[in-house]
């Protein structure tokens, strides 16, 4: 089980070839994935070609990219040209991507290897991957528990070595929460830092693609490869990455928001986060208690704005284009048949919710009100960041829950993203890091979250790396 860094060293020193590693990983997938369920589709032939090309580049002494030959898993809401891209929805079960997402294009140019597409909650809506239209993914630490969601497949694959690293997407916590549940690193960039061109849109003002990896350093490498202003995404921006050395990391002030350490927080999770805090304190950083007063309203704000955007973004899946699984001579019947058969329950629920909050008579009371409170949530962070540089919180309120436990109670499910949603609403970068050398009483991993200032990915990567170094030597 390699990290990206370990792969780079071994590959460049010719200890192994990219092809050997790729073959080894496919063997592992064959052994483990029928139980784990991380992958929806495997791309063996193209992966072998990509790996062979990487080996050839090395043999010819060509200039290599940090990701040359690195085997990656890709969440199935990111388009890879001519491959089946389903967003884990029956309505797209036969859809073949017409183009490469910008992030895929960048990774192809870098010489990376794409192993396959991973499972997710349908259209990235969910916190457990149970909403997938095709299969359940299990938590690598306990097969009766969920891996989190919606990037559950990517998180599980990285955790068990079915990929060296993976891409996921995060709209309300969909990278960070499954990362915490599976004991891996998961990072959501500043809004706009990574192009959304070729990401099947969920909520356009919240979505971001990001890395899931074993280490913070790996996340930084993968982020650097996919970031950048893109002609095809007019909301995209350039982020500069300048690593901070330990001296400068020590100067970062860490804020602890009291609203995240409340009664609903699981005691084991709190214990884990305090362990992480102690390690960071031992590095010499200063801590300060801060307040983000509108934190508790983030759930309402998110579940008004996100379904509203979803109802618009999913209108295109109408049985006319992308997928026509039911045919009819009547246009109206075609719409009804395809959508009714193709969309799962949670998807239907959110489309209805979104349609409701945008409808005349309710628009001001719900949608506009939510966007106003969103402004207040953004202001909370801005005010806090005048006093501190990084904010530390638990990633999730609880450890991984059991499969089936929350699926019939949407509100309970929504609450599992309570600590991750605010950062999407505010457009800030955030990373979830597993608390090293710590497991709950049930032997489950716990993640803590570092939230950075807008476009200050360098701060959270550098602090995160220092944390990892320091927690090794304890």
């Amino acid at each position: 089980m390699f990290t990206i860094k370990e792969f780079q060293e071994g590959f460049r020193n010719k200890e192994f070839s990219a092809l050997e590693v790729t073959q080894g990983i496919f063997k592992r997938i064959e052994e483990k994935d029928k139980d784990l369920g991380a992958y929806l589709s495997i791309l063996k032939d193209s992966a072998y070609s990509q790996a062979a090309a990487a080996d050839l580049s090395l043999a010819k002494n060509e200039k290599l990219h940090p990701l040359t030959g690195v085997p990656l898993a890709i969440k199935d809401n990111i388009l890879i040209k001519d491959t089946n891209t389903t967003a884990a929805s029956k309505i797209l079960r036969n859809y073949k991507a017409a183009y490469d997402a910008t992030v895929i294009n960048k990774l192809k140019l870098a010489g990376a290897v794409f192993l396959g597409k991973t499972n997710l909650d349908e259209f990235a809506m969910g916190s457990s991957t149970e909403n997938s239209g095709f299969k359940i993914t299990k938590n690598p630490y306990d097969p009766e528990r969920v891996p989190g969601g919606s990037s559950g497949g990517s998180a599980a694959a990285v955790a068990v070595g079915e990929a060296v690293a993976a891409l996921g997407s995060d709209t309300g916590g969909s990278i960070r929460q499954p990362a915490a549940f599976c004991g891996v690193v998961g990072m959501k960039p500043t809004y706009g830092a990574v192009s959304r061109h070729g990401l099947i849109a969920l909520a356009s003002s919240l979505d971001q693609i990001g890395p899931l990896t074993k280490t913070v350093e790996d996340a930084r490498i993968l982020f650097e490869a996919i970031k950048g202003k893109d002609y095809y995404d007019s909301t995209s921006i350039d982020i500069s990455l300048k690593d901070l050395d330990l001296e400068n990391v020590k100067k970062l002030k860490v804020g602890i928001p009291k609203e995240y350490f409340i009664e609903g927080l699981d005691k084991e999770v709190e214990k884990g986060v305090q362990e992480a805090r102690k390690v960071i304190e031992s590095l010499g950083l200063e801590f300060e208690e801060i307040s983000l007063p509108h934190t508790k309203y983030a759930l309402s704000v998110y579940y008004i704005i996100m379904p509203a955007e979803v109802s618009t973004n999913l209108a295109r899946y109408d049985g006319i284009r992308y997928g026509r699984n039911e045919i009819s001579d009547s246009l109206s019947e075609l719409y009804f048949k395809n959508k009714t058969e193709g969309f799962g329950e949670e998807t239907k629920r959110r489309i209805l919710l979104g349609t409701f909050v945008l409808s005349s008579g309710y628009y001001d009371a719900y949608y506009i009100k939510a966007q106003q409170v969103r402004r207040l949530i953004k202001n909370d962070f801005e005010n806090a960041f005048e006093k501190v540089d990084v904010i530390l919180t638990p990633t999730t309120p609880t450890p991984p829950f059991k499969i089936g436990e929350k699926i019939n109670d949407p509100l309970a499910m929504y609450l599992s993203d309570a600590f991750s949603m605010p950062t999407n609403l505010a457009g800030l970068p955030a990373i979830s890091i597993p608390v090293r050398e710590f497991k709950t009483k049930d032997n489950l991993p716990v993640g803590f979250q570092l939230i950075g200032k807008h476009s200050r990915e360098s701060d959270i990567f550098s602090l995160g790396s220092c944390y990892e170094e320091a927690s090794k030597s304890r």
Binding site: Y191, S300, D318, L331, L353, T355, Q371, L411, G427
Partner: protein, 99 residues
Amino acid sequence: MTKEPIDKKLVEHLADLVKIKLGENKKKITEDLKKVVGYFEELKEINTENVEPVSGGTLLKNTVRKDEYNKDRKLLAEPAVKAFPDDKNGYLKTPPVFE
């Protein structure tokens, strides 16, 4: 905000607008929506007078490009037609719009 705006009739109307048939799920979905929308009542507690609503996720304004033909865009037309469920001679086929 009105109390309890969600009822069976509204959910049926919304389902009709969205073009999905709810079937036996109708009762559960109505209850779920009632619960979730009821949760939103807490937003009433907050004073949002003179607060500018957020619009979108970006801080950018007026991102524009030149109004010029970009030959790279042509590459999208062919694969897009290929990905369309039914086509004939490069035309996209759908059921009749007017019956």
